[in-house]
């Protein structure tokens, strides 16, 4: 097995645990962590799988750079809303009753 493929497989595991985390975890801060794990997993798959023959490929590398920036943008927005929610309600978990 090559290093590229190994990291791609690691990425799959990270993505799966990230998704499970986003679905299962109620604490919003931790859910943001899970989202970031999920993103990192997808990035590792993108570069690792493309480089499974151990030759660097600049195209997925550039895509991941774009992806990292998008992820931090999403994280910042998520944190801003989490902080606002905590300021308004004093809670860090979404409850069922704000559903209509």
């Amino acid at each position: 097995m090559t290093g590229g493929l190994l990291f791609a497989l690691t990425g799959v595991a990270l993505f799966a645990s990230g998704v499970a985390g986003v679905v299962l975890i109620d604490n919003l801060l931790r859910r943001i962590l899970a989202f970031n794990l999920m993103g990192s997993g997808a990035f590792l798959v993108l570069v690792g799988l493309a480089q499974r023959n151990e030759v660097a490929d600049p195209v997925p590398q550039a895509m991941v750079l774009t992806g990292i920036v998008v992820a931090v943008a999403a994280t910042a927005l998520a944190l801003a809303m989490t902080r606002k929610y905590h300021a308004l309600t004093g809670r860090l978990e979404l409850t069922g009753d704000d559903n209509d």
């Binding site: 989202f35 943008a73 809303m81 409850t95 209509d100």
Partner: protein, 476 residues
């Protein structure tokens, strides 16, 4: 075509520069220009077929290609056509509510949303589509959160995690596709993705499609939609229900008939079953909703269901595709009209409740007329666009002997009639409660008439159905 993307990016930045609560006229004039551009583009596509643009001059697979065929052109026209009246509505809406926190940065957020939508409809590159999806998703979430209260922020958080989960699945799918084929250009991929594709390509397809279904709020992924669409400021609700969910549906359809066509045949029943369930489940909740805007939001869940009925019916005769296109267009106008009309009623009565509608017909005849016209489209009464959409859907179902789907379409129409009349009955037949009169505010003509224009457009789509069908067929 390029200007449809560059222009909104430009005015979005410009309105950031102008500062808080400013930029309404910049946005409205730019949107007018965009509507004209989209119209010109649709004419070109109808006359000469698909319009392509190789960004950077490289061409796929090295560069990113834009491609606008009939379906894309129709969506672009739809996006500008809904956005312009909603923008005019929003200017008046936030002017009366000068303290509304959603109005502070509304214009730049709107600009980025429209830029993202237009870029999405024009793109022919899977990774580029991911970036546009994020642009649309984050802008939509921010618009919901801008409402400021705890329910809005909670709804926006729910929406954010749903949309991030959806685009995350989509991104992993793109990563796998790049791993398997070494390209993300849809045109390059189409001949490569055959029935003999490796298993990884199938998984990629499933991941991308299910991520997008989550973003489209297909049952059972609809949980985030009613609070987000029902709780946001009215212009935002209208944009989200009319355009944002359509964007991810458009992408599903695009991938389904494009690169993944060879892979998805065997699973076409699945989205249709979920769609049928959504029609019933959404309508049922709309019938029982207490808040007026929640009723309209649940109706969106139901109407999205119709869209997914087309998948097992897609074929060479293209009737199902026409049905899907018509349903997207007519529902977009009808739902924008319904939300904007509901917004007028909420503004005038001061309360967001179905029961408060009692007796407002005499005060707000235009608005109620708009609400009724929009309801007509949702029910599928002739000559509205919704009628044509449902007619085409039934025709496609009958051509394949799918009586079960005919039943779903008809039942959905009846349920839509039931929840629309639930509102109209209150408005026309019941006397207003005395206590309410005190909070009543004067109706604003701009708000009423923009709602009416949107509703009229949703009906007119039925009268101009031939042109739309021709446009959908262009460039194939």
């Amino acid at each position: 075509m390029v200007w449809l993307i560059a222009l909104p990016l430009g005015w979005a930045s410009l309105t950031v520069l102008l500062g808080p609560r400013r930029g309404a006229w910049t946005a409205i004039s730019a949107l007018t220009a965009q509507l004209w551009l989209a119209f010109e583009l649709a004419q070109t596509v109808r006359a000469t077929g698909t319009v392509r643009h190789a960004v950077g001059g490289w061409g796929a697979p090295l560069g990113i290609d834009l491609a606008v065929d009939g379906l894309s052109a129709a969506m672009l026209l739809l996006a500008q056509g809904v956005a312009l009246p909603v923008a005019i509505y929003a200017r008046a809406y936030f002017k009366v509510r000068s303290g509304h926190p959603g109005g502070v940065w509304f214009w730049p957020l709107l600009g980025f949303l429209i830029a993202g939508l237009n870029a999405l409809f024009a793109s022919a590159d899977l990774f580029n589509l991911y970036v546009t999806l994020e642009l649309v998703g984050l802008a939509a979430v921010a618009l919901v959160a801008a409402g400021g209260g705890a329910p809005q922020v909670a709804a926006a958080l729910r929406y954010l995690f749903a949309t991030l989960l959806g685009s995350g699945a989509y991104l992993l799918g793109v990563a796998l596709i790049y791993g398997v084929y070494g390209t993300v250009s849809t045109a390059t991929l189409e001949p490569l993705l055959t029935v003999e594709a490796p298993r990884l390509a199938w998984i990629a397809g499933l991941l991308m499609l299910s991520g997008l279904m989550l973003k489209t709020a297909l049952f059972p992924f609809h949980y985030w939609l009613p609070p987000a669409h029902g709780g946001a400021a009215t212009p935002v609700s209208a944009l989200l229900s009319a355009l944002v969910v359509k964007a991810s549906f458009y992408l599903i359809l695009r991938l389904w008939i494009g690169p993944f066509a060879a892979l998805v045949d065997r699973i076409a029943w699945l989205p249709a079953v979920l769609g049928a369930t959504a029609v019933i489940w959404g309508s049922w909740h709309a019938l029982r909703a207490v808040r007026l805007k929640a009723l309209v939001a649940w109706s969106t869940v139901a109407q999205i269901g119709y869209l997914f009925l087309v998948f097992p019916l897609l074929g060479d005769d293209r009737i199902a595709l026409h049905a899907g296109g018509m349903q997207m267009v007519s529902h977009a106008f009808a739902k924008a009209a319904m939300f904007t009309a509901a917004g007028v009623i909420v503004h005038t009565t001061g309360r967001d409740a179905v029961a408060e509608v009692a007796g407002v017909a005499s005060r707000l005849p235009v608005t109620l007329f708009a609400f009724g016209l929009a309801g007509m489209t949702l029910m599928g009464l002739p000559p509205s666009g919704g009628f044509l959409a449902k007619w085409l859907l039934i025709e496609a179902a009958l051509a394949r002997g799918r009586w079960d789907m005919v039943v779903v379409v008809l039942a959905g129409g009846l349920l839509a009639a039931a929840y629309t009349f639930r509102v109209l009955r209150q408005a026309f037949l019941l006397p207003p409660s005395g206590e309410r009169r005190r909070v009543e505010r004067r109706p604003i003509a701009v708000l009423e008439w923009t709602a009416f224009v949107l509703a009229a457009a949703s009906v007119a789509m039925g009268l101009r159905g031939m042109e739309i069908v021709q446009l959908l067929d262009a460039g194939t």
